[in-house]
Symmetry: C2
DNA sequence: TTAGGCAGTATGTCCTATCAAGCGAACATA
DNA sequence: TATGTTCGCTTGATAGGACATACTGCCTAA
């Protein structure tokens, strides 16, 4: 009866006047607790009912929060048993961000050199990728991305021109996705293909490597929330400096 | 008042006696309707309330189904506007399956050649990757995967031995993930890294290509639903025959 | 003619409630 | 002692309601 209960002190402050949904506040709180070591890997959470009561929330709201955490791989639930923190650290799944953002968030200071820039009629392949009618115009440009003065990526992109205007100076100053987001684009999904190839003379000279060295290739087409194909591109990265890391979650 | 309403005939048969949850039946039904062309890209669905009424479901159940479809990128929702089918075709996101399964589902008939097989104490790197104590034993093997008689992938894996027993004959007959699933493993998530490299003499001879040709590399560690690191591996694929395709969904 | 506000509609959030199903441990029985 | 059954705990599924908020387009007033 007088059983000692080690409550996992989540110490979450739920702010009901905040515009942030309650379930999302819970998600953030638990994420912080896990990454901060308050909830060590393998530890079991209190059951959903108790947790909801502790935070003065309903069970569905609590469940919705935990659903997100399960989806992102931080928690594991088992009927009849309980919910526990997954032991391994989880990397954020591959997200819809540009290389520029990734590098900036990483503390590096990427620079961009615009090698070519045009605003012309799209060729057939581009029209197919972006689902544009004949005669439509697109921005077409190639960029060289360096970090710490070292070349890292050679990127060729095609962008539809009915969203926001793009010029060379803009591309030199910030990432493509930043520009498009500022132009009101809400990215929804992207199809991409990652492979490998051998550097040719042109690529090698720009990337400051030798012809025949390994390159990672990436082709991507991004779609926004209105269903428009916004951007397609073909990038190559120096294999010795770049690889794609991701976490897959089994639904 | 007498407005003609073009109801999108979903023709879903919801079987309440089925053990499959209602919301999942709805997910499958709408997926089928989209892929079957009944719901063409860009078409708008009826609102949640009406759809729920049409199928004799509650709105939360309907929403849960649509949530899944939004998450997987098939639908787009906009408050105050409605829900519509995303125009582009969506590939299934990269899933936790083995190459063997992927090829089999694709209609190909992959063959596996076991090049080496051992069951010994794990070295330090493997113990770190699988979080095993000193002295723990692991299965360690390399396999060559061919499809249509053509070599495609060279795979080296380490698997903990406290789950199911593995032998050479088994590996030659089916995929690793199939074996582990049969052994009771429920995979939850995996971290992987995709990059590129140049084929050395050993790899080139086995993959029937030339030294110096491009290879796609993949390193993966998979975790099951109890939080155990189950397997880790390092694979290389012929770049001219293989690339990783995936769809990223912005949450 | 045009700009602003307002109503209608759809999704977003949150709640209470109830039953089903899986799992584990305690308990009863042989 | 060993084994099988039952019971309680926990998550899973579904229902139905209430209110919030964002978007669209119409209507009105300047």
């Amino acid at each position: 009866m007088a059983m000692q209960k080690v409550a996992n002190q989540l110490n979450l402050n739920i702010d009901r006047s905040s515009p942030v949904p309650l379930y999302h506040q819970v998600v953030q709180g638990i994420e912080a607790a896990i990454h901060g070591g308050v909830l060590p890997p393998g530890s079991r959470l209190d059951n959903e009912i108790d947790l909801a009561a502790q935070l003065n929330l309903s069970r569905p709201t609590m469940r919705k929060a935990m659903d997100e955490l399960v989806r992102s791989g931080l928690l594991v639930r088992k009927r009849g048993v309980g919910t526990q923190v997954v032991s391994s650290q989880v990397r954020r799944p591959l997200e819809l961000s540009s290389l520029f953002d990734d590098l900036s968030n990483n503390g590096s200071k990427p620079t961009t050199e615009v090698l070519s820039f045009s605003h012309d009629e799209a060729d057939a392949a581009t029209r197919a990728a972006l689902q544009l009618p004949a005669g439509a115009k697109v921005y077409h440009f190639t960029r060289l991305r360096k970090v710490g003065g070292k070349p890292l990526a050679l990127m060729e992109n095609w962008v539809r021109d009915d969203i926001t205007s793009i010029d060379e100076a803009l591309l030199g100053a910030q990432g493509l996705y930043g520009i498009l987001r500022n132009g009101g684009v809400n990215f929804r999904l992207a199809s991409q293909r990652i492979g490998a190839m051998i550097a040719n003379d042109y690529q090698a000279s720009l990337l400051d490597t030798t012809p025949g060295s390994a390159l990672v290739t990436m082709e991507r087409t991004a779609v926004d929330d209105t269903g428009r194909q916004v951007e397609t591109g073909h990038h190559v990265y120096r294999a010795d400096s770049y690889s794609f890391e991701m976490t897959l979650v089994q639904r």
